[in-house]
């Protein structure tokens, strides 16, 4: 057995889901699992980049940028239906195994990294227009909760003053060292928290999504981090290209609930239960009635450590992250629409890791509707 075929046994796949193509992503995860492969945490970890669905312009730009971050040997695939997954993976495997082509790819890569665009640079494909409700998992039978904020800003997507997307920094302060054309971190201005010790601390602008494992499809959460604390956040959803998925949606079904369970558990670091939840999901999607579902649900509900680590996170009137997890497992969740501003509000003031858990606990359905970004300050 040579090195390359040995390596192929552990192919790591970075999956990118376009809003609406959850079914395709589930199929991808299933095939990755049954081949003995695994899902990658980041592009550095990945051999294979698989886009599920037809991404719109800004989503495509993010995917292209990430493609340049895969170390190689690398291959990519785009799949739009669950049936197309095995063939796409076979093609990608052949590509990864083609040593000569991989060496050519490696030699042809530029010495300078792909500049990319900043997340706040204005997209011109109209992402962000439209209606602003989205489906979020709520677990009580209270359907009347009105979370509509009347004061949202619909039209204005133009953050002209935040546009650092181009490489032209002639108009910037030239005293500032700018290695790689990227500025140094500085104070956060209005976003920065008052520091009792008058330390001069920096803030970082860290976009979360759309290419991020265990993250809602197409969601882009602009965060301002002070240390690891989210001091401000703004959310938007990146649109798919025209055309809609042929596979039925996963959200709102029993399989969708198990998908949410698997995502939350993977983030909570309980890999064993997460993988088993994904297996239950895939059996449900295949039309089966997985016998182990009840036992797994009891095991997850009973875990004291999990309850302790999720308790109090993402508290809504209806309950916290652990309550929502229990409702998914019991099949008693109710969904209702909410706004992205509510998501941004929920994660503001949390640390980055907790914010990730909270977002996963909301089980956002970004395919349902489109949203406009809404500011949520500190």
């Amino acid at each position: 057995m040579d090195l390359r075929s040995l390596a192929a046994r552990r192919t790591a796949v970075l999956a990118v889901e376009v809003p609406g193509w959850g079914r395709t992503r589930c199929a991808l995860e299933q095939h990755v699992r049954t081949r003995g492969w695994r899902l990658a945490d980041s592009p550095a970890d990945a051999d294979l980049l698989v886009v599920c669905g037809r991404p719109g312009a800004r989503l495509t730009a993010a995917v292209e940028h990430v493609w340049g971050q895969l170390p190689g040997p690398r291959a990519r695939a785009e799949v739009t239906t669950a049936e197309a997954v095995p063939a796409a993976l076979d093609r990608a495997t052949a590509e990864l195994a083609d040593g000569a082509a991989q060496r050519r790819d490696a030699d042809g890569r530029p010495a300078e990294p792909d500049p990319g665009t900043t997340a706040t640079a204005t997209g011109d494909d109209g992402d962000g227009d439209g209606d602003m409700d989205m489906d979020m998992d709520m677990d009580m039978d209270d359907d009347s909760g009105d979370m509509d904020h009347g004061d949202m800003d619909h039209g204005d997507m133009d953050h002209g003053d935040m546009d650092h997307g181009d490489m032209d920094h002639g108009d910037m302060d030239m005293d500032m060292p700018m290695p790689g054309g990227i500025g140094l971190a500085g104070g956060g201005g209005d976003d920065q928290l008052a520091d009792p010790d008058s330390l001069d601390l920096d803030v970082l602008h860290v976009p979360l999504g759309p290419v991020l494992p265990h993250w809602p499809a197409g969601l882009l959460l602009h965060t301002t981090l002070q240390g690891d604390l989210v001091v401000a956040a703004r959310a938007e959803v990146l649109l798919p290209a025209d055309g809609s998925p042929t596979d039925p949606p996963v959200h709102g079904t029993a399989a969708g609930r198990w998908d949410a369970v698997a995502t939350l558990l993977a983030l909570a670091g309980w890999d064993d239960a997460a993988v088993r939840a994904a297996r239950v999901r895939d059996e449900l999607l295949a039309g089966g009635q997985p016998p182990e579902a009840d036992r797994l649900a009891r095991r997850i509900t009973r875990s004291r450590l999990l309850r302790w680590s999720l308790r109090g996170l993402g508290r809504l009137p209806e309950g916290d992250a652990h309550d929502r997890l229990r409702h998914w497992l019991a099949g008693t969740e109710q969904r209702r629409s909410t706004e992205l501003s509510a998501v941004a509000d929920l994660v503001t003031g949390l640390d980055l890791a907790s914010a990730r858990l909270v977002v996963a606990s909301l089980d956002l359905d970004t395919a349902d509707r489109v949203t406009v970004p809404v500011e949520a300050g500190s």
Binding site: A62, V63, G72, E112, P115, A119, L201, L229
Partner: protein, 116 residues
């Protein structure tokens, strides 16, 4: 003395092994050089460098830790003489530890162990 010679040899093996791994990797990898990349930010270009004045909000805990850490300097030699000195060694050490532990309780009440 030969113990430290062995430790030096182990350090040599560790460093040599790491260098060897890098050399081997240059031969086996699809290309010997590294890929230049921007840091992973979900598909976006960073607006600023991540290396920055990071706010470690748990820093009161580091001070608490230092107090105990200095105490450990006494603890190790103490451990070897407890049996020979007897009760007074225990009393003296645990009075000191008791004082430090009271400090921990005070720091906890002041919120030094919570930072989110």
């Amino acid at each position: 003395m030969s113990a430290y010679l062995s430790l030096a040899a182990m350090l040599g093996i560790a460093v040599g092994g790491v260098l060897l791994a890098y050399l081997l990797h240059r031969r086996t990898a699809v290309a010997p050089g590294a890929v230049a990349s921007l840091p992973f930010l979900s598909g976006w270009r960073p607006e600023e460098h991540a290396l920055s004045r990071f706010e470690a909000r748990y820093y009161p805990m580091t001070l608490l830790f230092l107090a105990f850490d200095v105490e450990m300097l006494y603890m190790y030699p103490w451990a070897t003489v407890v049996a020979s000195i007897g009760t007074s060694a225990i009393v003296e050490m645990f009075v000191l530890l008791g004082v430090l532990m009271t400090g921990v309780l005070w720091a906890w009440r002041e919120g030094a162990l919570r930072w989110t």
